[in-house]
Amino acid sequence: MTTLGRTDVQPVIRVRDLTMAYGDVDVLRGIDLDIHRGEVFALLGPNGAGKTTTVEILEGFRQRSGGEVSVLGTDPERGGDAWRARIGLVLQSWRDHRRWRVAELLTHFAAYYPDPRDPAELLTLVGLTDQGGRQVDRLSGGQRRRLDVALGIVGRPELLFLDEPTTGFDPQARHEFHVLVEQLARDEGVTVLLTTHDLAEAERLADGIAMLVGGRIRACGTPAELARRAAAQAEVRWTADDGTPRRERTEEPSRLVWELHRHADGPIADLEVRRPTLEDTYLHMVHGEADGTDGAAGTYRDADEKAPAA
């Protein structure tokens, strides 16, 4: 699905028709993914879209209902310790090892891996050198999360999972975190799969984005491709003769406007042509899902009007 032109090598993550159901509830309804070595891939979607479920299946923490999954060439349900050692995880809600000191904890977790990073260098990499002797529960939220990242990469993983990595960060901490992830991918060739509900974060970090809404992937590609696709259908708005506001989506806005003019034989009231941004498309998909309609099928309704009050 990610059209990065690297079909010659086996992808790091390969998913075909992945489904997941809890009882009668379908959480994932047939997901396909290919994520290649060294790629930063964002799984973007609102809360409850199935991101965490997808990632937990890939991490081997959850049994899928159906479909094929291969992570680093292995089915996660059968991944042993050797497989685990090649994967790093940074989850949302870790509050563990509160009493441990930062450097002590990193040094301890290095002991589980065959070729670990040097804990001191790792502290420098995540910017926690000054906090090495501090107790874990005295760290700030951002520092704690960077420690989680350090623990996630202490074993030199080939693949790193980041689950909502910057939730609750201030802008500065978020920026520093983004730089760190870019560095890992660029300098060390780590493949990164991150989940987020923040489009800006996905655009900033990811080489590939899959938009997951309602258990389906609604769009997938590079940020540039997605933006181009989003802009392909322009929206034309105007006010009709009887005073009702009208809107229409078309690939040829110029032709529509031309025909409107010919039809009206004069100026058109409140005429406006908009090229939707990626954000418009994303919000539209999300709201379409909230309304119970299939946003991707082109039954375009105005997100602003239809969105239920928060």
Partner: protein, 286 residues
């Protein structure tokens, strides 16, 4: 093979670090020390001899508390640690680490054994010094002390692990296990002769390991003449071994699948919690 040695090494390292944290944690240490102090105070307070013998009551009480403190390490301290670490995500992190779960178990065993043996040594040592408490006489008694302690721990530790694997959260956990444990403390003949209790109560208490742990420790710590005060008029050591072994087997049968399930379900419960949190804070969907 190297994986296995690595897990052992990591587990022992982990256990050592956790012990150091425990020793440094004033609140938790004072909790453990308070238990010992209370036991010593109660033992020093009781006068007289055990009825029908010339063994001071103090000795019976100290032997009983020794058994109770072992019992407590396995059935209160251990489940509390497990529930807390489950909730904080320690178990999940180790699950995500190669060889992490075996290392975790090694570390917890080390922690529990050191905690139990340390408490026992402190109680008996301080008891002997300050309250003229009992100590084993001769190698036979020491051997009995050793095997009753070991088997007693084996009987309660897997059981405690199983409890820690199913209890919902640290707040409720304590309330749920405290009451039955205190009940057993009073009905198992630990702090006064069991024969003072009605026979049905004795029979119920005899199902649980605490009565047998206390009886085994009395046989190691009290003079042989004191056995006339036992319900059966003897120490019943084969019965002690049998009951404790039965609890060990039962404990392992329960603990292994329950711990597996707890480790497996870790992410599941987390997901629900997260969803609930998301719903409460007004997810961006709406």
């Amino acid at each position: 093979m190297t994986n296995r040695t690595n897990s052992w090494r990591a587990g022992l390292q982990r256990g050592g670090i956790e012990l150091r944290h425990l020793l440094r944690n004033g609140k938790e240490m004072s909790g453990h020390l308070t238990n010992v102090v209370v036991a010593l105070l109660v033992a020093a307070y009781v006068g007289d001899d055990v009825p029908g013998t010339r063994t001071p009551m103090t000795h019976l009480v100290l032997a009983g508390f020794a058994a109770y403190l072992l019992f407590q390490v396995g059935l209160i301290n251990l489940p509390q640690i497990l529930v807390t670490e489950r909730e904080e995500g320690t178990l999940l992190r180790l699950r995500a680490t190669p060889g992490g779960i075996p290392a975790y178990l090694v570390a917890k065993c080390l922690l529990v054994v050191v905690l139990a043996v340390g408490t026992l040594a402190l109680l008996l040592g301080a008891g002997a010094l300050l309250a003229d408490g009992p100590l084993p006489h001769g190698p036979g008694d020491w051997l009995t002390l050793l095997w009753v302690t070991a088997l007693g721990l084996l009987a309660v530790v897997p059981l405690g692990a199983a409890i820690g694997a199913v209890l919902p959260n640290p707040r409720e956990a304590l309330a749920l296990i405290m009451l039955p444990t205190m009940g057993l403390l009073l009905t198992s003949g630990t702090v006064f002769p069991i024969t003072a209790l009605p026979v049905p109560v004795q029979q119920v208490a005899a199902v649980f390991p605490l009565k047998w742990m206390a009886q085994g420790l009395r046989s190691a710590l009290l003079p042989d003449s004191a056995r006339t005060a036992e319900a059966a008029g003897s120490w019943e050591l084969p019965m002690v071994a049998l009951v404790l072994t039965a609890w060990t087997v039962l404990g392992f049968l329960l603990a292994v699948p329950l711990l597996r399930r707890a480790a497996r379900r870790e992410s599941g419960s987390r997901l629900t919690a997260r969803h609930r949190k998301a719903a409460q804070s007004g997810a961006p969907v709406a």
